[in-house]
């Protein structure tokens, strides 16, 4: 079943630049799709259309069968978004306060808020740091906190905008493991990146964006050799004619 559907979606920024051009896309529930493209190719603009942070000038975005424009609140609850810059995503003055931010916005009962906070922190392994102040966390921990903040809203789709940017090796591994755990628990995952190396092995689908358009879309093995034409580095394994290898141990 398709959980994300875009029909003829175009978006133009106020200065006239085309953000998205005639995007038609349908994503199946429970899959992990990687959206790759060079800087400015429209990846983040695309993601922001999924939860109504940006609205299309033409076309329709549907999440779980309902147009986003009809109920933006619902779309934001269904589509959790982990931003590129974790520091500016974390709003709470402590780890647990940040995780509680989303459920409190949903006006849940305080007992339910607490339950969701506890569960989300346990999933990302930050229970012991619940009372910690966010600026004292490591890069990987901050990214995991962002994920916990999203999970507490119980989304069905989780989108990651450049999740590995400025992370060291352990931080990248931690985030990758969280992504895989989410996929195993049935979430639909979208990851944007210009570095395919880390995620290509796990991807069910690879979408290449260029100048606001989808220029390639298919199974990773079928199109990975073509990515360099669009400013994305071909993974080493593919260059060497090997099959993709798992990046985390």
């Amino acid at each position: 079943m398709s959980i994300i559907e875009l029909e003829n979606v175009s978006h133009r920024f106020p200065d006239g630049t085309a953000g998205l051009q005639n995007i038609n896309l349908s994503i199946m529930e429970g899959t992990l799709s990687v959206i790759a493209g060079q800087n400015g190719s429209g990846k983040t603009t695309f993601l922001k259309h999924l939860n109504g942070l940006l609205l299309p000038n033409t076309g329709t975005v549907k999440i779980a069968g309902e147009p986003v424009i009809k109920d933006i609140h619902r779309a934001r609850q269904l589509v959790g978004m982990v931003f590129q810059d974790a520091d500016s995503q974390i709003v709470g003055e402590t780890v647990e306060a940040d995780v509680a931010f989303g459920p409190e916005n949903l006006c849940l009962d305080p007992t339910d808020v607490r339950k969701r906070v506890t569960a989300a922190l346990a999933v990302v392994g930050l229970t012991k740091l619940a009372a910690q102040r966010p600026h004292l966390l490591s890069g990987g921990e901050k990214r995991r906190l962002s994920i916990a903040g999203i999970l507490a809203m119980e989304p069905r789709i989780v989108v990651f905008d450049e999740p590995f940017t400025s992370l060291d090796y352990p931080g990248t591994q931690q985030v990758l493991q969280e992504i895989l755990k989410l996929k195993q628990s049935g979430h639909t995952i979208l990851v944007t990146t210009h570095d395919l190396e880390k995620v290509i092995y796990y991807a069910d689908r690879l979408i290449i964006m260029h100048a606001g358009k989808i220029v390639r879309d298919g199974l990773p093995d079928n199109i990975v050799r073509e990515v360099e034409a669009f400013g994305v580095r071909e993974p080493c394994t593919s260059r060497l004619g090997m099959e993709a290898l798992p990046w985390h141990n």
Binding site: K48, R76, P110, P134
Partner: protein, 251 residues
């Protein structure tokens, strides 16, 4: 600033931690006001009580003093100014400067009072989660009409969250400029403008990203209300402190 850790919440199971935050906030105000009116005897009693509390809570007084080093310099200046400006029996006379006995006493009392207020603040911050402080402020604003208490609560939370980040960003901007030999330019106006413009641009960009991230998490002013639980013993603590403070005001 990111290393500013002594003035922060320390998790624990003490009675001070369990005390209802609204009562703690009232106590903070009451005690701070009483301190400002207290004489040396009352200050002595309060200092003793606070030192026992600090010891009971295992607060790191040494780190606090290190973090307050610049503030302590300010207090020293207050003491000197008081000593020099209060008339009385001259204790030290040097050229046109006269330090009086009364001036030194008055200066010592002022410094003592300010230090006690800082100590009361420290015990409050160390035993209260920032989330609870925010919730209590919201609660106290409830009866005030035309005040968007949820927005104020969120703003307090964001300030607490972003002050360390803003200081870190300011430090990074300064370091980046030092790496490009800004110190060779002696004109303070030039250096200030070269610092302020990128710093503010970055701060506003962060604020923009924050607003988008909050929107993505369904931010609304109609949110889950915080819950409080004041017990009988909390009111007893409040009553005892209130009586003590009244005695200070009266005598």
């Amino acid at each position: 600033m990111a290393q500013l850790t002594a003035f922060s919440y320390r998790s624990g199971n003490s009675y001070a931690h369990a005390l209802d935050v609204r009562i703690k906030l009232i106590l903070l105000m009451l005690v701070s006001l009483a301190v400002m009116d207290a004489g040396p005897t009352a200050l002595g009693v309060m200092s003793l009580c606070l030192m026992i509390l600090v010891r009971y809570l295992h607060l790191p007084l040494k780190s606090v003093c290190v973090e307050l080093r610049y503030f302590l310099i300010l207090l020293a200046l207050v003491f000197i100014a008081r000593s020099l400006s209060t008339a009385g029996d001259p204790l030290i006379v040097w050229k046109w400067l006269t330090i009086s006995r009364e001036g030194m006493k008055a200066g010592a009392v002022v410094v003592w009072r300010i230090m006690l207020v800082v100590l009361v603040g420290l015990t409050f911050v160390a035993t209260t989660r920032p989330t609870e402080i925010k919730a209590a402020v919201e609660w106290f604003l409830k009866p005030v009409p035309l005040i968007p208490r949820a927005r104020i609560g969120t703003m307090i939370g964001l300030v607490l969250r972003f002050i360390p980040l803003i200081f870190t960003q300011a430090g990074e901007t300064l370091d980046a400029q030092r790496a490009r030999a800004v110190e060779h330019r002696k004109n303070p106006y030039y250096r200030l403008t070269k610092f302020v413009i990128p710093f503010f641009r970055r701060t506003f960009e962060t604020a923009d990203k924050l607003a988008v991230a909050m929107e993505a998490r369904c931010y609304s002013e109609n949110r889950t209300n915080p819950q409080f639980s004041a017990r009988r013993r909390d009111f007893m603590v409040l009553a005892v402190c209130a009586v003590f403070c009244c005695l200070i005001f009266l005598f």
